[in-house]
């Protein structure tokens, strides 16, 4: 696929996204916002890792300020938490020898069943239900690579973890966030010339829009940044450094997947200092060095790393 076309097309989608917000009347803006957020997205309920080495990955999460708070009733799954962030480490079905993978994002929505129905109607792939008796059925569609996108609507009156998880005795069920850390988003690797496709995917199914030049950039500002209509999730799409030409995505040349998590921090140097004190090392060379706009941690377990991005927590 000619790369020039892809660029034009992405620019075109970005332009449309900006146009769609160019409304002046307050009521019109509200209607516009509702129309853009048809699913009633309200941030991330949890992010799930799959790993055959759950304890090693759990140790990394603990270095990053998470605490284990609950175990799944029927599977080898652990819930970690800090502040508003829930991270799940799932060893169920993980393959030995494979590095940990970002396996799922659970999105908070107004009505999970309605959201699921709508994305299937638009062309999402349903994930078949596999739950044990008395466990929650959380509807999902397939995302990039082997990942899944879940839809959760029970977080106000009670938590999904109350049903499927058992608290770990003696732990604080709500450990505070380290240095104001909160979910910012994920970096998604895409095949050469595939950014426009994924912009269309997230735009069509979930109402995400392309951010302009004023986006929070971090230390690795390449690619395109998408933002959910509620502002609670950012996805940075990054194509290969060396284009593979026609042997792009879907072919063997490129492996499309979620690569790393980005955490928002109101004060990046302060957050980096707090994490260093816990034993986390940061990339310190050149433009990747810790700076007020962002930072990048060391890599653990064949590729698990975290990015810090200057971002205020949502109100």
């Amino acid at each position: 696929m000619p790369r020039a076309w892809t660029r034009t097309c992405v620019a075109c989608w970005a332009h449309r996204a900006r146009e769609s917000t160019a409304v002046n009347h307050p009521l019109a803006r509200e209607i516009e916002a509702d129309a853009a957020n048809r699913l009633g997205l309200e941030g991330i309920e949890y992010i799930e890792y799959r790993s055959a080495r759950p304890q090693a990955l759990g140790h990394v999460l603990e270095l990053m300020g998470f605490r284990p708070v609950a175990r799944h009733r029927s599977r080898e799954v652990l819930l970690y938490r800090q502040g508003t962030m829930n991270a799940i480490v799932n060893a169920h079905g993980a393959t030995d020898g494979e590095p940990p993978a970002l396996a799922a994002i659970a999105l908070r929505v107004r009505d999970a069943a309605a959201a699921h129905r709508r994305v299937l109607e638009l062309g999402g792939w349903d994930v078949p239900v596999q739950v044990a008796p008395m466990e929650l059925h959380i509807p999902a569609i397939h995302g990039v690579g082997a990942s899944r996108l879940y839809f959760v609507d029970r977080w106000r009156e009670f938590s999904i973890y109350d049903v499927d998880f058992v608290p770990i005795p003696g732990t604080d069920p709500r450990p505070p966030a380290l240095a104001g850390l909160h979910w910012f988003g994920l970096v998604q690797r895409v095949g050469a010339g595939r950014s426009a496709d994924w912009v269309a995917f997230y735009g069509e199914l979930l109402g995400f829009g392309v951010m302009g030049e004023d986006r929070e950039a971090g230390v690795l500002p390449q690619g395109i940044v998408l933002r959910s209509p509620d502002g609670g999730l950012h996805l940075q799409l990054v194509e290969p450094d060396t284009p593979h030409g026609l042997a792009g995505a879907g072919a063997d040349g490129d492996h499309e997947h979620f690569e790393r998590v980005a955490l928002g921090a109101p004060d990046v140097p302060a957050a980096a200092a707090a994490l260093r004190a816990r034993g986390v090392r940061f990339v310190e060379t050149g433009h990747l060095a810790v700076q007020p706009r962002g930072a990048l941690t060391q890599s653990w377990l064949d590729g698990v790393m975290f990015e810090l991005i200057h971002h205020e927590p949502p109100a």
Partner: protein, 298 residues
């Protein structure tokens, strides 16, 4: 010889998949257009067929064909979505980047362009996570869409980056679509070009078009529209299309010839188009040597 941009279609050859792939490779082709039947009809099952294709070293031009998808409602639509998903999974397993979908012939299909565009957009969304682009083709006997400009119109209306059109010379000539109409198509949204010719000057009715299309197409250079075909290919080249060109030649006679005889005819067609029409040529070894010698030393 420069036939890298041209490929054969398995539907042209008789025999088992392995023999077809071998004949294509031995005729000098490096790519192949596959049909779902090649996979599911394999005696050892479709996954064995996928392994055979991958082992052949031939690149997959595309995978065909999803029929009668657009314009349906209710349970018919749901049924077709299931069919589409199965096709997409097979295409993905093959490493194919293109799925061919052709315009509906169903009397149950709506002619509402908004409905058709909505369905095509959904099809593109289904294919998208798999890295597959959908090439939509106007069959010359399609019920509501039977000419390339109509296909382009609904593709443009659906507006999805992995949805484009397939240009098929047979259908363009069968409906007498002026080649100038092609110039209205964004070349970046042409995802596949299929080439063939036929022996009649005209095919007036949908029935005639269907019968000729399914039994008596011939390779480029063998029919009566060679001048038009050369113009079509030259026009595409001028628009920036560099390939792939796939020979989609359904022909009952070729079905009873040895594969290598038919592949030789395909090779002759590719050479005609590459060398005489497009004037593409491989750099000679001496030219390559000269270029290397002229390159500045590090």
């Amino acid at each position: 010889m420069y036939i890298r941009d041209f490929g054969m279609d398995t539907i042209t050859l008789a025999g088992p998949l392995a023999a077809k792939l071998r004949a294509m490779r031995e005729a000098g082709f490096s790519q192949v257009m596959l049909a779902a039947r090649d996979l599911v009809g394999h005696p050892d099952g479709w996954r064995a067929a996928v392994a055979e294709v991958r082992a052949s070293g031939l690149r997959v031009t595309g995978f065909q064909v999803l029929r009668d998808f657009e314009g349906l409602g209710g349970h018919l639509h749901d049924y077709k979505v299931d069919m589409a998903k199965a096709m997409i999974e097979m295409a993905a397993a093959l490493g194919s980047r293109v799925l061919l979908a052709c315009s509906s012939t169903s009397q149950h299909a709506s002619d509402d362009p908004a409905h058709i565009a909505r369905d095509l957009r959904k099809l593109a969304m289904l294919a998208l996570p798999h890295g597959i682009r959908v090439a939509f083709e106007a069959l010359s006997w399609g019920r509501h869409l039977n000419e390339l400009p109509q296909a382009w119109d609904v593709v443009r209306r659906a507006d999805c980056p992995n949805l484009g059109v397939c240009v098929d010379s047979y259908h363009v000539f069968a409906t007498g679509t002026p080649l100038e109409a092609l110039e209205a198509v964004d070349p970046a949204r042409i995802f596949l070009v299929q080439l063939s010719d036929f022996m009649w000057n005209e095919v007036r009715t949908p029935e005639e078009r269907m019968a000729t299309a399914r039994t008596f197409r011939v390779f480029p250079g063998e029919g009566v529209h060679s001048a038009q075909l050369a113009r079509l290919v030259t026009l595409l080249d001028r628009m920036g299309w560099r390939g792939d060109f796939s020979f989609e030649v359904f022909n009952d006679d070729y079905q009873q010839l040895p594969q290598e005889r038919v592949a030789a005819r395909a090779r002759r067609a590719a050479l005609w188009l590459a060398e005489d029409v497009l004037r593409r040529s491989t750099p000679l070894p001496s030219q390559l040597r000269a270029r290397v010698a002229a390159a500045p030393s590090a």
